[in-house]
């Protein structure tokens, strides 16, 4: 194997490996054998390490500048260089700087060609299509700006803005158009963009951290001597003391951050919106009912039975898509009356912020009663998923919380949104599921359900969980949401969101309570959620699906079942069943 054919990143990896082997006492011959590097390379790497540590082992651009016409190779060369070094004069990269690099190392290219290259590498600002003026941008993305006077923002108000240069910035990843990333050019870039579209960036092969952000900010301040405001798409950076200290030492740059994707705060507009004629086929006049009509009629029949038989029913409302469908069905079942029962949200305090705002708006819009309950003991002891683990958190905040709420308000029947297709152990769950006075589910003591005849008789103290969506599948739920234009939490749709990777799962950093490793900065990624729960326990999936049909398409083509995103399931195959016996749902 010849080292010459490798990219510098790969070569650097081999060089580090060689040094490691050398340090562990391997002979040169053995290292040569394992890494394929020549003796002089191994020796020089080792010397560099002794002189300057691990970083010093890295080599920059290798060999003499080529004069051949630019092609994929020259593009890779440029990217490799960009990932490890700054352009001449130690400024940030820009399309002009890339052009300069090509002129020096290869040959002259037009700025248009350079921009085409940049686009193909994914070096574009994600929100560059925005036509907002600087002032509008700041108002949209930092709505609290005018209300915060003095203090952290140095008396900044939108009126001061014309005086300052406004930039929008963020962190993004290189992506090739085919969606495949060449391992030689895998990396991220921190960028700033002015309102004429000009982009400045710093590239890195590693995950960016707070140190790199400081370096970027320093370069940016150095490059533009004027005062400026940087509107940065990232989690709030105040939590990093090093960034805070750096910001405190200078007055030239004001850093504002926003993490919610602007799109995600807007109400979801389904593609069917405004095309009501298309969905009219759903209310058909032909005789045969469609499968969704049959399911809808069945769920409504179940809800009306419960309301007629229960003393004090309640609907468990989790804010998720199944709850959304269940609530919509309840609106239908009792129309023109309001559903004759309240909604109960057993809160853990760790739901996504978007979920809370969605819940409050929806309840207001529909005019239904909502009870929220949080386990006071858990709250007092600050039970959270990070220090106490997912199992204990779920048990205390969710399972115990639910039992307490049902006892406190003396609810005897509770609607739940569980479906039989969700998990194998649920395939046998009755629609009316009986619970003892201490809320336990006894698999041996469940009643047979014949025809549409549900026996809801019970003794005082006993309760029933009723699952009107039992016979719906995940596809049915989505299709019904699509057809009926039911509002759902925007988190189900893909948008740029700040995420960190934990044990192979992408976790959204929804607020400052999420612990980060020292210096770790969450990446902005286009992600969405297949299920919604507590944000630290809910895995995001990388996705481009930002419409309902796209979600359904993705769901049908992605062959992983729904609850995989939820960490509570991962314990064992029978864990759901165990949770049910304990009264989890």
């Amino acid at each position: 194997m010849s080292g010459k054919k490798l990219s510098s990143t790969e070569l650097n990896k081999l060089r580090k490996e060689a040094v490691q082997l050398r340090l562990s006492g391997e002979t040169l011959a053995a290292i040569r054998e394992k890494t394929g590097l020549s003796n002089p390379t191994i020796i020089s790497s080792h010397k560099r390490f002794i002189a300057g540590g691990w970083e010093a082992i890295n080599t920059g651009k290798r060999g003499r500048p080529k004069t051949a016409l630019s092609g994929p190779d020259s593009q890779h060369d440029c990217l490799e260089h960009m990932l490890t070094d700054l352009p001449a004069e130690n400024t940030l990269w820009s399309s002009q700087k890339v052009r300069d690099w090509f002129s020096t190392h290869h040959h002259d290219l037009s700025l248009k060609t350079i921009n085409r290259y940049l686009k193909s590498w994914g070096i574009t600002a994600p929100e560059s299509h925005s036509t907002a003026t600087p002032k509008e941008w700041l108002m949209q993305h930092h709505p609290g700006l005018n209300s915060v006077q003095g203090g952290a923002l140095n008396g900044l108000s939108t009126d001061d803005m014309p005086a300052r240069k406004v930039l929008k910035g963020g962190i993004a990843s290189f992506t090739t158009p085919a969606g495949q990333t060449d391992p030689r050019v895998r990396g991220h870039f921190i960028y700033a963009q002015d309102f004429r579209g000009k982009l400045y960036w710093l590239a890195t092969a590693e995950k960016p951290d707070s140190k790199l952000i400081i370096r970027f900010l320093a370069l940016l301040s150095h490059q533009f001597k004027s005062e400026m405001i940087l509107s940065f798409h990232c989690v709030p950076l105040e939590r990093y003391t090093d960034i805070q200290q750096w910001l405190a030492r200078q007055s030239q740059l004001t850093l504002l951050t926003y993490s919610a994707s602007i799109q995600s705060t807007r109400p979801v507009i389904t593609p069917a919106h405004g095309e009501k004629e298309l969905t009219q086929s759903y209310v058909r006049t032909t005789m045969a009912l469609t499968h969704l009509q049959r399911l809808e009629a069945e769920s409504i029949q179940i809800m009306r039975e419960v309301v007629s038989k229960a003393d004090n029913p309640v609907m468990l409302y989790s804010i998720g898509k199944d709850s959304a469908v269940m609530l919509h069905l309840a609106m239908k079942a009792f129309h023109p009356s309001k559903p004759p029962f309240p909604l109960l949200h057993v809160d853990t305090g760790w739901k996504f912020r978007d979920m809370y705002s969605f819940r409050d708006e929806l309840v207001k819009k529909l005019g239904v009663e909502l009870i929220t309950y949080m386990n006071p003991e858990g709250l007092e002891k600050d039970i959270n998923p990070f220090t106490h683990g997912s199992a204990l958190h779920t048990d205390i905040m969710k399972t115990e919380g639910l039992k307490q709420a049902l006892n406190k308000f003396k609810f005897d029947v509770a609607f739940g949104g569980a479906r039989r297709d969700e998990e194998k152990s649920r395939a046998k769950e009755r629609i009316f599921s009986f619970r003892t006075a201490d809320h336990r589910w006894d698999p041996k003591n469940q009643r047979p359900e014949l025809w549409k005849n549900y026996n809801a008789n019970k003794r005082p103290g006993e309760s029933i969980r009723v699952f009107p969506l039992s016979n719906w599948t995940e596809l049915d739920i989505w299709q019904y949401i699509y057809l009926e234009q039911i509002p759902i939490v925007p988190l189900y749709l893909s948008a740029e969101r700040p995420v960190v990777e934990r044990d192979g799962t992408l976790i959204m950093v929804d607020d400052e309570r999420m612990p980060l490793k020292p210096g770790e900065v969450p990446m902005m990624k286009k992600v969405r959620f297949r299920t919604l729960g507590c944000y630290p326990l809910t895995g995001a999936v990388e996705s481009e699906a930002d419409t309902l049909p796209a979600i359904i398409q993705e769901m049908l083509l992605t062959k992983t079942s729904e609850r995989q995103g939820r960490m509570i399931d991962h314990d064992s195959a029978a864990s759901m069943e165990k949770k049910k016996q304990e009264g989890y749902f």
Binding site: A288, L289, H291, Q293, S425, W451, N453, P549, Q553
Partner: protein, 633 residues
């Protein structure tokens, strides 16, 4: 399926539009563990590509651990649910699975085949449009095949598929298939099954499941999937029946709107149609069919709607709205077929709650005409129905209900029976026809009534019901109470074993069913005496809560005074005045309460007499005190 996946990736909006129009078919699979039923369902799920990779991976891992197919995927593991049964390797309850193809969406009820689970099969069958009966080609028609066929025809599933499975193990021989088919047709004729489709297949190898099998060129019929995708759904048949809708809920958001919510069991309804409310018989016309999506021009069987009427007539939950031209029947006594679903057997004479549609009434089984042996279809005489027993029973209700025979309408002709003590669903029933024998008996209004008779006696009539073990002291206390009442000038009558067992009830023994009937008669006699204005004292062991409840329900509120003569078994056995306990212990006396027949102590008696703490005299005084405090005397 290839078509679907292409469409999903290329034109999802069109796919959704197509999918939206699919109909729903519910079917049930019947067979024993060895017939390959779970394998078939696993195969259908697999072929419809509805398994997720993580599910497949989990099943592959489990196949190695629990599987019976060596290193191959054990499809059966895809469908076995609960942990306990996974370890046992058998399915123990009804499980529902979901899949869809290009043409239809399916819900499968997977039910186990063992005899003791008749209950599960009836449950699964009650909502099915099609039944697939699994037959092992090596073993042919077995007793259980006959049982499943009988049950499917009883529950009235319109379409039956006989899946002759494991053809790979009989070398795909046409002869085997033909022999089994002929055997089955012969049997089916006897029990009146007409619509049968036979499909030779191998669920394990995939023959004739979705693709026609190359191994059986002699078979020219449809594949199983082909059949399921094209068979007509029951729904549309129900739309041709006359209109029926049980009122589930009266929708009254304000004074201007009064709607009746329910799901159409059959028929089609449009505004202007004339309807009749049952059992009241009042008529009106439909004003609107109100839904969340606006008023509808029509509603069909299967839809859940809210109807408003043009006239204000009194209708509440439990009533049935029917076509005025072809209304449902009304009845109070019926011949029914009952499938018993509980360990505690059905007893004639005992009262149960009957839930039919949205109505709940009190019912008692007046007679078990015969029990059906589900394996041989023979009719057997029976005094009670045990778990999984099926019997033709006469049933009597406390009020009129609207109904249709089960054969014409599965929704308005079916009911469940609920135990009044435990609240369990203990039985399922089908109405065959109404019995007309009591329709002409009406209550005659008379001038002299209970109030008049009792005021003459200056007392309030009541039943003092003493219950307790044999030897607890009931008769002694009853005697003392009657003496004390007579002494103060009251009119009484004492019913006890001596004056009842020798006459009115001399045809009854001591089995559980006979005890139930014994108490029913005593309760009826007591009721007549209460009507006569007497204070009735009864002294019977009356071991079952249900019968004491029945007696309580027969008279007016407050007229039934339950007194628990509370003597522990060891004390009563020690006294053994008549030497009965000794006899029972020696086995000479069967069904003796406390020894080999249960005594269910009252939970909330009006009076609890702990006889070990007091004399019989004191106990009788307490009863008198209670009567005074209640204002009876």
């Amino acid at each position: 399926m290839a078509h679907s996946s292409e469409m999903i990736s290329e034109d999802i909006v069109q796919y959704l539009k197509d999918h939206e129009q699919k109909s729903l078919l519910r079917f049930i699979t019947c067979g024993s563990v060895d017939d390959g039923k779970s394998t078939l369902i696993g195969r259908l799920l697999y072929e419809s590509k509805l398994l997720f990779e993580d599910q497949l991976a989990a099943v592959e891992a489990e196949s190695k651990k629990f599987g019976t197919q060596g290193d191959n995927i054990d499809f059966a593991l895809l469908v076995d649910g609960l942990a306990a049964e996974r370890e046992q390797g058998i399915t123990i309850d009804v499980a529902y699975r979901f899949f869809s193809t290009d043409k239809r969406k399916f819900i499968v009820a997977d039910t186990p085949g063992h005899e003791q689970y008749t209950r599960n099969m009836v449950t699964g069958a009650s909502t099915a449009d099609v039944a697939i009966l699994m037959v092992d080609a090596r073993r042919g028609i077995l007793t259980q095949t006959r049982r499943h066929s009988y049950l499917t025809s009883l529950i009235g599933i319109p379409h039956i598929v006989v899946a002759i499975n494991k053809m790979d193990l009989v070398d795909y021989a046409e002869k085997t298939y033909t022999r089994i088919k002929e055997d089955y047709i012969e049997f089916a004729r006897q029990i009146g099954i007409e619509q049968i489709t036979f499909i030779p297949m191998s669920a394990l190898a995939g023959d004739n499941i979705t693709e026609p099998s190359n191994n059986m060129p002699w078979y020219h019929g449809t594949t199983l999937m082909g059949y399921l995708e094209t068979v007509q759904v029951d729904d549309e048949l129900m739309q041709k029946q006359p209109f029926r809708m049980a009122v589930q809920w009266v929708n009254r958001p304000n004074l201007d709107f009064r709607g009746f919510s329910g799901q159409l069991a059959s028929g089609v309804i449009r505004p202007g149609d004339r309807i009749r409310a049952l059992p009241s018989g009042k008529e009106s016309t439909i004003a609107t069919i109100s839904t969340y999506d606006g008023n509808l021009p029509q509603a069909v069987a299967g839809q859940s709607v809210t109807l408003t009427l043009n006239d204000e007539i009194d209708i509440s939950r439990g009533d049935m709205l029917t076509s005025a031209a072809e209304p449902a029947s009304i009845g109070k006594q019926f011949e029914t077929t009952i499938i018993w679903m509980h360990e505690e057997p059905l007893m004639p004479g005992r009262t149960y709650l009957m839930q039919i549609g949205s109505k709940t009434v009190t019912a008692s089984i007046t007679d078990i005409k015969h029990q059906v042996n589900v394996n041989t279809m023979e009719h057997l005489a029976a005094k009670k129905l045990e778990l999984n027993g099926i019997g033709e029973c006469n049933i009597s209700l406390d009020q009129d209900i609207a109904f249709d025979p089960y054969k014409t309408n599965r929704d308005t002709g079916s009911f469940i029976l609920i135990d009044r003590m435990t609240n369990n669903t203990v039985g399922a029933g089908l109405i065959n026809f109404a019995l007309r024998r009591s329709t002409n008996i009406t209550v005659q209004h008379t001038e002299v009534n209970k109030a008049v008779r009792s005021s003459l006696k200056t007392q309030k009539p009541c039943i003092i019901w003493l219950t307790g073990l044999s030897g607890s002291g009931k008769s002694t206390i009853a005697d003392l109470v009657e003496q004390k009442l007579l002494a103060s000038g009251h009119h009484t009558y004492l019913l006890d074993g001596d004056n009842v067992r020798h006459g009115l009830n001399k045809d009854l023994g001591f089995t559980d069913q006979d005890r139930v009937e014994n108490i029913r008669r005593i309760a009826e006699v007591s009721k007549l005496m209460v009507d006569a204005g007497l204070i009735v004292i009864t002294s019977f062991i009356s071991p079952f809560k249900a019968e004491r409840q029945m007696a309580r329900d027969m008279v007016e509120e407050g007229e039934f005074i339950e007194i628990f003569v509370n003597t522990p078994l060891d004390v009563a056995e020690d006294r053994d005045v008549k030497g009965l306990y000794k006899k029972a212990r020696r086995g000479e006396l069967k069904n003796f309460t406390g020894i080999d027949s249960p005594y269910e102590a009252p939970e909330a008696p009006e009076l609890d007499l702990k006889t070990v703490e007091m004399t019989a005299e004191e106990a009788a005084d307490k009863v008198i005190e209670l009567l005074k405090s209640k204002g009876m005397i």
